[in-house]
Amino acid sequence: MRVSLARFVLKRPETSAVVVTAILVTFLTITTGGTWLSFANLQSVSRITAVLAIMAFGEALVISTGEVDVSVGSVFAMGALIFIGVGRTVNLGVALLLALGGGLLIGLLNGAVVAFFRVPSLIVTLGTLFLFRGIAYGVTEGFYFGASDEVRSRLIFNVMGGANLGGVNVAVLWALVALLVLHVVMFYMPMGNRILAVGGNAASAYSRGVNVARVRLIVFALSGLLAAFAGMLDAASIGYVDGSFGELMELEAIAAAVLGGCSLVGGRCSLLGTLLGAFLLRAVGSYLVILGIQPQWFILLLGVIVVLASLSDRVLTKLLFRLQQR
């Protein structure tokens, strides 16, 4: 009985995220006297969850290979700034392509350095985190880029985060599409098998003929692409973007992935869990807002969550494995 439970949890790494989410939602609803569960709050939580989740999906892929991408917060800002900045001056279609292409390029840059020069990914992406944050502050010059009413009325703008459908922001639909596609890629396509293999044992994967460098390049490229996409969606739904856009979100993306059951040492991944992880973080954030607690405290809480999640990741995996072997 215990053994089969351990197997179940190991096979479905999102189990603990599901349980924690259920408990947390109940707790938040009761302690706020139902305010947390109100439509207005859920509307806002679902949108910010979706934006974080899209970024965290990319992070989850990178983490699955045993690497980490801390540059995503800055890539998020670049995606947003290019989309609004170019969109309001040149053309929204061009802006869309440039924003996504920019994210992809930054991801490829990170990935190439990691894959071909074997520089630790934390160092490489820390570099690009600062580099592109610097550019974000530089181009905005302490001000912000806002979208005009004309821009806001355009179809591309609405599809890319500007519109609500039945009260739900389109970002939520995009997150569900991304979840579905990436889940299929990870678990039903050869690429996913190889991503997990590289994270589990890169030398073994290489000996079986897996192109390990290419796998690393691809996950970083996807991470960049998704972070820029998330930034675009967020900027379009808010309507403006400044240089600090997405700051510290890289930590939330990592936390969401780890909370969701992705192993920091690689080889284990759950995208559904990552979505729940993103939801957990955003739910707690909105709870603090409802309680009127200063948002700065969320950063402290985020730090605690990241440390605990990564610790429990190691402890839990070992424990489950031992149970299973009996």
Partner: protein, 260 residues
């Protein structure tokens, strides 16, 4: 050897350097189809370096490698596997986090295309994985969807051998396949090696266990300090002599460095 068979693999004056360390010194050796060759020597003698070249993991610093008489110019595991060279290594080859079925086909996943998009054929992976579990003597309780980490040492080896056979390799390199195995598991793995040789595969078997390899191999190649010091058929050397040479060395200048 019998009448003028062409070698399946041929290494000519191969040198291998890792930085300033020379792992192989001017090694020339031939391997033929349908033989079981024991590759022996002390730790650091260059056994693994030699097979790493054949299995495409490293490229020689200088020298030539021929497969079927064709010169090999680029070295990559994928290429070697495609040419029919399978390797069961001591420490690598299996990803503990993946299921048996997924490991079986890692890197060569069978796909079914729907609208051109490749989806892995999980049904086929399970079916073939299941067959391997039965045919290669793994416990019947082993689940094809279970993680490879749950296999015993002998089962891991048998599983790697099963995979090599499934992909119709012509050359099987076994690097210390019986390390950490129970006596019974060791027998099982050695039986498999002999069976594959009888099916006219070339089996290159690396081991420290001289007496064990002497019973099953047709020929021995002894390496010392990266150089080939002996290449003898079994009937010309007893296990005791073989062990003495490895322990005491041949005492010539085979260990002196040469230019790469």
């Amino acid at each position: 050897m019998e009448t003028e068979r062409a070698p399946l693999i041929s290494l000519r004056n191969v040198n291998l350097w890792y930085g300033t360390v020379q792992a192989l010194r001017d090694v020339s050796v031939d391997f033929y189809q349908g033989e079981l060759v024991g590759l022996v020597g002390d730790n650091g003698a260059g056994k693994t370096s030699l097979v790493n070249i054949i299995s495409g993991i490293v490229a020689p610093t200088s020298g030539e490698v021929y497969l079927d008489g064709q010169r090999i110019t680029s070295f990559h595991p994928k290429l070697a596997i495609d040419l029919g060279v399978e390797t069961t290594q001591q420490s690598v080859g299996l990803c503990d986090n993946l299921s048996i079925a997924r490991n079986y086909f890692l890197g060569r996943e069978p796909v079914r295309r729907i609208a051109g998009i490749p989806f892995i054929d999980l049904g086929k992976m399970r079916k073939e994985g299941r067959k391997a579990i039965t045919a290669f003597g793994l416990r019947e309780s082993v689940d094809v969807d279970g993680e490879v980490a749950l296999l015993s040492g002998g089962e891991r080896q048998a599983f790697k051998i099963a995979r090599a056979v499934y992909f119709r390799s012509r050359i099987l390199i076994m690097d210390e396949p019986t390390n950490n195995l129970s006596v019974r598991e060791r027998e099982r793995v050695n039986d498999l090696a002999v069976q594959l040789k009888d099916q006219s595969l070339l089996v290159i078997y690396i081991t420290h266990d001289i007496f064990q390899i002497h019973r099953i191999a047709d020929r021995f190649i002894i390496l010392e300090n990266g150089a080939k010091v002996a290449d003898v058929p079994r009937n010309l050397m007893s296990a005791e002599d073989l062990e003495r040479i490895i322990r005491e060395g041949v005492g010539n200048d085979a260990g002196s460095p040469r230019s790469g």
